[in-house]
Each structure stands twice: as structure tokens, then as C-alpha cells.
Amino acid sequence: MTTVGHPIPGKIRQAPSAGFDVEKVRRDFPILRGKAHGKPLVYLDNAATSQKPQVVIDTVTQYYLADNSNIHRGIHFLSDRATRAFEEARAKVARFLNASDPREIIFVRSATEGINLVAHSYARRCVKAGDEIVISAMEHHSNIVPWQILCEETGAVLRVVPINDEGELLVEEYAKLLSARTRFVSMVHVSNALGTINPVKQIIEMAHSRSVPVLIDGAQAAPHLPVDVHALDCDFYVFSGHKVFGPTGIGILYGKAHLLEAMPPYQGGGDMILSVTFEKTLYNVLPYKFEAGTPHIAGGIGLGAAIDYLSGIGLEKIAPYERELLAYATDTVSAVPGVRLIGTAKEKAGVLSFVLDGVHAHDVGTILDQEGIAIRTGHHCAMPVMRRFGVPATARASLAFYNTRAEIDALAGALHKVREMFA
């Protein structure tokens, strides 16, 4: 990768964090050797989806090559192998989140489906007209719309915790919003549009002091931070497979066993039943009660491989490397004249959202793309966040542990080109 011009004077090029070899991990990702528009690919759209290491690609391929079968009901050799692999993946996810029991891990399609499942099967049962559900002003649409639907159906009220100009949650406002009417809190762990890391442990404690259950949307946290649902004491936690270097179409809902057990199924069908007659159906035990129909078996097994891969490197090594890289990116990009960062929280992970004076984010995206640099432009499925900061859209570079300082330099160099073109 060539470093694009416009070096930043006086900047000290520190060595990446000790014990983490970024060039070595890059070799695990075949797509990173590719080109875009004839330029070396600089992939900075990891908050949208992450790239896949060879081991995940091989695991999914191997499943279809040698193990493909339906699970949980076949008596034959292949079905047994597929079932074991799928359930092993569930156990890996449980360990990844430090859940006490694999029965607390539900395979769903996406983090979005996990939130919808909880809104439908848990919250709907305990919410009535006048009750309140609390979310934050930095939620992704997937943690807004399911609750709006629920509120419309039940007459409950959605309360939104505001954020400050840095994009940090106003915890004192959250404290004021919690009341005897609060029935549920659903909050993002790491904001996809701003990168803010929320103080989720405190958020959960405050809700629990009023016996209010809490769901944490971890879609942007799981790729960057160690997550411990036991230590957090959250009631539900969701994340998506494709953002943690696994396949698309698979997501995880963690729920405390006693809550999941008391909940009715989300969908009816095969696999989620013990017995069916036309008079009465007995539902299956956890986790199968929530997994109607043939699941995304290859996706689940592929996610297991991704988690093995991540654990092999260690999020405790990934997090400090990414923190340094984000600090470098923040300095480098904000040194480009006309750049304004959107989201400057003290605690951030993985995301650099910005606007460039006089140039719409969409134009920035097109020009960067021609340089081989993939970023996301738009509202990032967080239109209320855009409104809060008074911008129609931002350009967002989002990092993974395979990104390098040279790639950040390429980003800054391309932003200078944008400015030249629009001068």
C-alpha cells in the first residue's frame, strides 16, 4: 500500500501496540489483497459489515462440502455432524459473551430480529397504555422502530434520553426519565453513527434499581470490546454475526434463562415444538422454542469459526490496537481543513463520522471510492442522530483491527483531493 501525500507535520509515527501484528492478521483476510477501481482496497466500512477471514470462508464451504444436513431431527450420520457443529457454535457464543448457559443463546437472523423478538415476546406482555419504554437519542433505527410499533399497539410512550454535543448520553437525564411508569430500557452499547461507548453497566444498574429490565444492542460493540453479559447483568443482549467477521444472515439474542422461559414463542413452526395436535401444541424447551424452522445452519457454524478466530487473537489485544488507530485517525482526519467530526465522545470505538465543509457526504464517498477507499455516507440508519447534529448526512470511516495507519493516511490524502476538486 502506498502512502498518499500530505504528511502531517510534527506527527510522531508510533509503533502499533505491542503484541499485535496487523500485517499478520491482514493475511488472514483474502479480500484485503484485492483492488477497487484499480487501487489497493482500503476498507473502512466495517460498521456496515466486516470482512471474513479465510477460516470462516473455509468453515462455511466445508460445511456445505462435507456436513450439509438438517439438524435436530435426522437420525443419520450427516445430521448428527451438522447438529453437533451447530450446537458447538452455540456454546462458543455463550463463552464469547460469558453467558452461564448455552440455552440462553438464541440464533436469530440479525441483531434487528433479536430486538424485535424481545419487543414482541417480552415487552408486549408487560406493557400497557401509559407505560414507558426508554431508549437513547443515538439509537440505530433497529432499536427505535420495534419500540414505536409496540407503543402504537399498546398506547405505551417512548421516552428518549438526550445526548450532548459530543454525542455522549446524558446520564442525569436518563435518571430523570426512569420512573414508576418505566417498563423497559433498550439501549445501544456502541453507537454506529457516532462511535460513542455508553456506560451500559451503570445504565443497567440504574434500571435494575427500579426493577426495570434492560436490552443492550451490541451490534457495534461485539467486534471491538470484550462483552461479559454476566458482569453487565443485562437481561437481553443482541449482536450480529456479519459484524464480527462471520457470515450474514445470522445474529444472536442472549436472554436470561428465567426471562426466556416465561416468554411465549416469537414464531411458530417446526423445531420449536415438543408435540403438535390440532387441539394443543407443546412448545419446545430453550433455546429451540425461539428457533422455528430450519435455522441458518452454515451461518451459525461460520459464526462459531469467527468467534474462535477472534478469541485466538484476543479482544483484549484488539481493543488497545483499535483505540490507538482511532486516535491516529481522529488526529489525521481532523487535520484536513474543513473537516468537522460528528461524535467526539471521550469513550469511543471504531467510528469516525465527519462532514467536510462545502462538500456533501455523498460526493465525498464517490471521490473516495475512485481512490479505492470504501466508506459509508448517509444517515447510517440513525436519522434522529443526523437531526441532532443538524446535518443531512455524514461520511463515516469505521475501523476494524485489520486496518492500518497507512490506510488512514490514504483516507486523509483522498480527502485533500476532494477539497481540491471542490475548491
Binding site: 462545502g358 462538500v359 456533501h360 457526504a361 455523498h362 460526493d363 464517490t366 471521490i367 475512485q370 455516507t377 448517509g378 444517515h379 436519522m383 443526523m386 443531512p392 448526512a393 476538486m421 471542490f422
Partner: protein, 150 residues
């Protein structure tokens, strides 16, 4: 970069910086709003229709350089034209953007709008260029609903 220079021609950059007819039109008798949810572009088109003719036209909104310049050049191109002439112009414009330049296509009909020919190399940006035109069409048809590119 050559494709980019084709896309962001100087005329487009000029109209982005200093869009023409960029204000609310007092006495407008037709208006419509357009929206591109993909990138958040929003536009309002104001028309003064006199009989069959577009007597005056203006726009407001926010958007990328392509959508803003397209709106600006559109207002300049259709002022004083009949509804049918404006519709025919959009038809030809759309053909150019999507590369459907068959024998019936005559770029001379487009005048200044030909500066958008580079857009066809960027398929995801076609909607940016057509949003103002879809909004114009909605205003002419008197549609109440907001036009969306999706």
C-alpha cells in the same frame, strides 16, 4: 480521476456552489417535495404554471453536488417550456443518464444538461440527478405526496 472529472465537470461544480433559481417562489401555484432516503437529499420545487406553460420555476433544499446542480440546471432548462416539452426533455435526459442512447437519442436536445453525461459511469448517482426531475413531474401533476427515489 478522469471519470471523476467527467462526473464533476466545472459547470456542475459552479451550479453546486451557486445554484440558480434557488429560493422560494412567491406566487407559486404548484409545489412538490422530493426526497432521496439513501443520502438524505431533500428538494422542494416551486412552479408558476400559466396555462400549459412553466412560467417560472425555483427550488430549495439540500443535497449532493449532482442533485443540486441538476436542480439548478433543470430550472434554467424548463423555464418558458410547455409541460410536454419539459417531459420530453426529462425523457431524453434520463436516456443519457442510463446509457440508453439509441438512434432516437439526440444529445443536442439537451443543451447544457449534457454536462451530466458522466453520471452514467456512476449508476448509484443516477438517482441524485433525477430527483429534481421526478419532483418537477410531481409538481406538474399536482401530487400531494412527497416523491421518493426508493
Amino acid at each position: 480521476m478522469s471519470d471523476l472529472r467527467e462526473l464533476y465537470q466545472q459547470v456542475i461544480l459552479d451550479h453546486n456552489k451557486e445554484p440558480r433559481n434557488f429560493q422560494k417562489l412567491e406566487g407559486a401555484n404548484h409545489t412538490a417535495e422530493g426526497y432521496n432516503p439513501l443520502c438524505g437529499d431533500e428538494i422542494t420545487v416551486y412552479l408558476q404554471v400559466e396555462g400549459d406553460m412553466i412560467g417560472n420555476i425555483s427550488f430549495q433544499g439540500s443535497g449532493c453536488a449532482i442533485s443540486k446542480a441538476s436542480a439548478s440546471l433543470m430550472t434554467a432548462s424548463v423555464k418558458g417550456k410547455t409541460k410536454a416539452e419539459a417531459e420530453a426533455l426529462f425523457h431524453t435526459f434520463h436516456k443519457m443518464l442510463t446509457g440508453q442512447t439509441d438512434s432516437a437519442f439526440d444529445p443536442r436536445e439537451l443543451g447544457k444538461l449534457a454536462v451530466f453525461s458522466g453520471v452514467r459511469e456512476f449508476p448509484v448517482r443516477v438517482k441524485c440527478a433525477t430527483l429534481p426531475w421526478h419532483t418537477l413531474r410531481a409538481a406538474l401533476e399536482g401530487k400531494e405526496e412527497k416523491v421518493s427515489t426508493e
